[in-house]
């Protein structure tokens, strides 16, 4: 097998070398004391080494002593490897956080200060090439920002004031334009600082299960300690009663060997390594957890609130069919729909152009005429289209496509009629969970375009898997109940929430929790923040607002909502690894 030399390789020679040294440093009693099971083993090793030097130099004692030291060192080594990985990542982060200068704006004038002097609420200006000095919220301007330092993604992202993409992270670099940023983090508590301390394990708190397991392990160790060290007294009594004092070898190495067999060394030695690796696994998937507690909670989740868009369906609806009105040729409908969509830059619009090209061979440029005025989509009219100003052909003045009701009004307004068949088609598409767009040319209704949500491949199987794990999935969507039900059925989710608002999300989480469930969700907007904070596991998208990122207990640097499912799986894996080692 070829050795994996890629950056994916998760253990490098350097980490191993450092870990070997570290496992000896960790023999320091103060550090060992934190892990009582291994501490007891180390004391046993020390005692049997002492007997070795006191002249009891049998090959048995030597073997026992070596094994004992090996056990202790291996436990140290496992922990050191897990920590070493984190340290390497932290080092990389530190390098990226070069000592930055900030251009603070105070009373309208700009001053250059060290980034460490920035305080909450300060406003700084950043221009091309500047490193953003600290976490903040853009209050003015728009810029493209290179966030590769934290996400590892080299493509720049756009950040602008207002809306859900206003948060910037300290340590990232502005590569175009100029923005004014209001600082939202105290020095030392920025996102990168938190990341560093997290991956280093410095701020790692023990999780509730770890604490409980720790208590169990310590108690078992204590009681076995007692049961082994009362043994010689019973043996001596028997010897004396039989009149054969000192007949049996109850030497220290023998007792220590028995003790180490009885006490739970496997889980005791690996407990902290498992905890660290839980966070580490998330980091490898570009998810940052604020605490190990959150990782463990992820393993217990039994309700997942999933946003429909981006998680269950591909981001956008796609045109899937042209359904002409009676007496209209399919080609004519396709051509008109394409014309009306040429100016429509939304993914839905583009998908209509593509579908027309694929099915009906209609090419966009054939209709690129000079006397054309494109009418973009507006929330008010809920239609888009095209107007011809005195074209050569004898065709109606304009084409519109849009929601059935609005197109109907538009057609009726010009004295046309809305055929009953088209209305039936529209209703049918709605019932199937699709979105109908009606296309009309002048006063004539040409037909309907069926826009469909495209369910991600394999998602249904994934939900079935989750169901087997005892996890219920709830789809959250702004769609009407009819559409939502159809998509929910197709995707195989257990439940759905139609026409959902952030308030509804929050109250849904509360009611699930009141019923004893543990809920996980993803979110990015500021209005998601309360729900993210309320959920047991809230995964905020890195592209989201600062408020959302603060509220969640995990941040997904890739901003991929599907990852929530992986997070749950990792949490479960963590609990299971620990459980199976406990019974080892």
């Amino acid at each position: 097998m070829l050795k994996d030399h890629s950056a994916q390789s998760w253990i490098t020679g350097a980490i191993l070398r450092a870990a070997i040294i570290e496992s000896f440093i960790k023999l320091n009693p103060v550090l060992l004391w934190k892990n009582p099971v291994i501490f007891v083993t180390a004391v046993g090793a020390l005692l049997s080494t002492t007997t070795l030097f006191l002249g009891n130099l049998s090959s048995f004692t030597v073997q026992i002593t070596l094994w004992l030291w090996f056990t202790v060192l291996f436990a140290n080594f496992a922990e050191a490897v897990a920590e070493g990985r984190g340290k390497a990542q932290a080092e990389a982060l530190r390098r990226s956080r070069a000592l930055a200068w900030a251009r603070r704006i105070r009373n309208g004038t700009e001053e250059k200060i060290s980034a460490t002097e920035l305080r909450l609420g300060d406003a700084v200006v950043c221009e091309v090439g500047d490193i953003i000095p600290s976490d903040g919220e853009i209050i003015d301007g728009i810029a493209s920002v290179d966030e590769s330092a934290i996400t590892g993604e080299s493509a720049p992202v756009v950040r602008e004031s207002g809306g859900d993409r206003s948060a910037v992270t300290g340590g990232t670099r502005v590569i175009s334009d100029r923005i004014i940023v209001k600082i939202t983090a105290e020095p030392g508590h920025t996102f990168i600082d938190r990341m560093i301390s997290l991956v280093e394990g410095a701020s790692r708190q023990k999780t509730p299960n770890e604490i409980a397991l720790g208590i169990l392990l310590v108690s078992l160790t204590l009681v076995f300690l007692l049961s082994v060290f009362t043994l010689p007294f019973f043996a001596w009594y028997n010897e004396a009663a039989a009149g054969q004092s000192n007949a049996v070898n109850v030497s220290l190495p023998v007792l220590v060997a028995l003790l180490v067999c009885l006490i739970p060394t496997t889980i005791g030695g690996l407990l902290s390594a498992i905890g660290i690796s839980g966070i580490d696994r998330l980091v490898r998937r570009n998810v940052l957890a604020t605490s190990g507690r959150a990782v463990e909670a992820a393993g217990d989740i039994d309700v997942l609130l999933l946003d429909k868009t981006g998680t269950i369906t591909l981001g956008n609806r796609m045109a899937s069919a042209f359904l002409p009105a009676p007496g209209v040729a399919a080609d004519r409908l396709a051509r008109a729909a394409q014309l009306a969509s040429l100016a429509d830059e939304t993914p839905e619009g583009r998908s209509i152009v593509v579908l027309a090209k694929e099915i009906h061979g209609v090419r966009g440029r054939e209709v690129a005429e000079p006397h054309v005025k494109f009418i973009p989509f507006s929330a008010h009219t809920r239609m888009s289209g095209v107007d011809f100003s005195g074209g050569t052909e004898e065709r109606a003045a304009s084409i519109r496509k849009g929601a059935a009701d609005n197109v109907r009004e538009w057609v009726l307004g010009q004295g046309g009629q809305f055929p009953i068949e088209v209305k039936e088609t529209v209703d049918q598409i709605s019932r199937q969970g699709g979105t109908p767009l009606v296309v009309a040319e002048g006063c004539e209704v040409l037909g309907t375009v069926h826009l469909k949500d495209v369910i991600k491949g394999g998602i249904k199987e994934r939900f079935a898997q989750l169901r087997q794990m005892g996890i219920r999935t709830v789809m959250i969507t702004g769609d009407n109940p009819l559409t939502a039900a159809a998509i929910a059925a197709e995707a195989g989710v257990d439940d759905f929430m139609a026409e959902a608002t952030p308030e509804m999300k929050l109250s849904r989480i509360r009611s699930e929790q009141a019923a004893g469930h543990l809920v996980a969700m993803t979110g990015d907007g500021t209005n998601d923040a309360p729900a993210l904070a309320q959920a047991d596991v809230g995964v905020a998208m890195n592209t989201g607002t600062q408020a959302a990122r603060e509220a969640g207990n995990m941040v997904d640097l890739d901003s991929n909502p599907t990852k929530l499912i992986e997070v749950v799986e990792i949490g479960k894996q963590l609990l299971m690894t620990r459980g199976s080692l406990t019974t080892d």
Binding site: N209, V223, S227, T230, L262, G470, T582
Partner: protein
């Protein structure tokens, strides 16, 4: 083993299962305050008791109040019993004019009966007046059993109530369990025992002249009433010194069978009561099944060890120390039942069992008296093991451990570990003292591994509130009476307090509904896990000392050396 032996065991188990189903459901009604057919007679009595003693029966207690009530109740009971025993010489109902007990023995006996241990460092007919037997020991036989039931009920309420603070009212639990369960059953059993020939009289001992012309004193007394509750309440303190091996305590095979049955009937039936109360009878039967599995394993092993014979005297089964009237099989069954059920009564000398059978009797007690165990205490002890099992199993399937929808966290694990391990620590330390100090070794009858077993048996019995005696060891010395008193108090209350603390913490938690990912707490898999946890935690701790006691003795006997 003959066909009739097998038939008796099968009959015993069948009757046990049938009673569990019926009595378990009845007890649930009593404990939940539902109406029963006994209400007509007993409801007025119950009301009168509350009125007379000023108990507000609707007043609920939180776990601390409940624990204080339990401790206070037992302390007062203990002090009254202690004074009674010290002063019995100048009290009525003492036809033999027996003197008051010395302080160490009185203390040991008072503690022993209050803690449902019934360890007896005395011989009843030579030490106790009728008043002490009836008003002292007999009363505590009822009250200690009622205490066990009360603590169990508080724990169950901790599991089934959600997000409240209170666990019920101890006084009501104690009164209802005594009045509706213990008294009627004891009354019925006492009548049957009298019909079989168990004595029940307050007249003085009779003197007879034997065929050899010598004078013999034949002790009598109000035995039947006390024996009924001694078995039903898993107490086990015999009226006479040799306990149920005495023909006046246990005259016929039928009385023997009924007494054995009475020992397990309440602890077994409580499993179904529990299941019914938590809303899943299946859950109750699961615990019953786990107990039954261990019962059958230990019974099988004891039968094997007893019938395997002895290379020194190849005559078949071990007959020494057994009552031939009742038979070897019934002695083995009795020995297994009583050591598992925290009932200290004996109908054979356990010291004369084969080394391994004696070892299993010790192991039975060291498991913490959770296989059926004492009335109430057996089940709440078993539930501590359930918490431990659920905790480990929960981690294995990748979920934060929960039981009946309630999360098990650090506090619960801490308390469960205290409840399970403190008695073990107590046994080991006292046994070391026993076999290293002169005052400990002086009481040993058979020095060597068997002597070690004698000491281990004594402290295993006391620290786990069993009360069964191995025979051989002279327990009436200062070391064993005082050391034993400590062991009994620790073994009882160092379990009760953590159990109530867990109940107090669980009762405040919310209940998560089960999902398909929840680890199932009923069914065969869970029975298997629970049995393994009980056996592993119980036996690993005592593996070294058992190896040097019974196992070593067995190996030496195989090598031709007896003790």
């Amino acid at each position: 083993m003959s066909a009739s032996d097998v038939l008796q065991v099968v009959l015993y188990i069948t009757l046990l299962v049938a009673t569990t189903a019926v009595l378990g459901i009845f007890m649930e009604k009593v404990f939940q305050g539902k109406s029963t057919f006994l209400d007509f007679f007993l409801k007025p009595v119950e009301r009168a008791i509350y009125r007379f003693s000023g108990i507000d029966s609707v007043q609920e207690m939180n776990w601390k109040q409940y624990a204080v009530a339990v401790l206070w109740f037992n302390l007062c009971g203990g002090v009254v019993l202690l004074l009674l025993l010290l002063g019995q010489g100048s009290l009525p109902l003492n036809p033999q004019n027996l003197p008051g007990l010395g302080f160490p023995l009185a203390l040991n006996t008072a503690v022993s009966f209050v803690t449902n241990t019934n360890w007896q460092a005395y011989s009843g007919e030579a030490t106790m007046s009728y008043l002490s037997q009836m008003a002292g020991l007999g009363v505590q036989n009822f009250l200690s059993a009622a205490t066990g039931i009360g603590v169990l009920l508080a724990f169950i309420r901790g599991l089934i109530r959600r997000q409240v603070d209170t666990l019920g009212n101890f006084w009501v639990d104690a009164v209802r369990s005594t009045l509706y369960i213990l008294l009627p059953l004891s009354f019925a059993l006492a009548l049957i025992l009298v019909s079989q020939g168990v004595v029940q009289t307050s007249s003085s001992y009779v003197t007879a002249t034997t065929l050899m012309g010598q004078e013999q004193v034949i002790p009598l007394g109000p035995a039947a009433s006390q024996i009924a509750i001694k078995q039903l309440g898993t107490n086990g303190g015999g009226f006479f010194g040799v306990n149920s091996a005495h023909p006046f305590e246990n005259p016929t095979p039928l009385s023997n069978f009924l007494q054995m049955f009475a020992i397990l009937c309440l602890p077994a039936a409580l499993t179904v009561t529990y299941g019914k109360m938590v809303g899943s009878v299946r859950q109750g039967w699961t615990l019953f099944a786990a107990m039954m599995v261990v019962f059958l394993i230990t019974l099988g092993a004891m039968f094997w060890a007893e019938y395997a014979g002895n290379p020194l005297f190849p005559t078949g089964a071990f007959l020494e120390g057994k009552e031939v009237r009742i038979g070897v099989a019934n002695s083995i069954l009795w020995g297994d039942v009583t050591t598992l059920a925290s009932n200290g009564s004996v109908n054979a000398m356990h010291s004369s069992f084969s080394a391994l059978a004696g070892g299993i009797a010790i192991l039975n007690m060291l498991l913490g008296e959770v296989i059926f165990g004492g009335v109430g205490s057996g089940l709440y002890g078993m539930l501590m093991f359930v918490l431990l099992t659920v905790f480990i199993a929960g981690l294995m399937v990748g979920r934060t451990p929960e039981y009946l929808g309630k999360k098990i966290e650090a506090f619960e694990i801490k308390m469960a570990v205290v409840a399970l391990l403190v008695p073990s620590i107590c046994v080991l330390s006292l046994t070391v003292l026993g076999c290293t100090t002169e005052m400990g070794k002086a009481s040993i009858a058979n020095p060597g591994p068997h002597g070690l077993s004698e000491i281990l048996y004594a402290f295993a019995s006391m620290a786990n509130n069993n009360g069964s005696a191995f025979a051989g060891l002279n327990a009436a010395t200062l070391f064993y009476t005082l050391g034993g008193s400590v062991a009994m108090v620790v073994g009882r209350f160092a379990v009760i307090v953590p159990v109530l603390a867990i109940a107090g913490s669980m009762v405040r938690k919310k209940i998560a509904p089960p999902s398909s990912g929840t680890f199932p707490k009923d069914g065969g898999l869970f029975v298997g896990l629970l049995v393994s946890v009980v056996l592993i935690v119980g036996s690993l701790t005592f593996f070294p000392v058992l190896a040097l006691g019974p196992v070593l003795e067995h190996l030496l006997i195989q090598g031709g050396r007896a003790f």
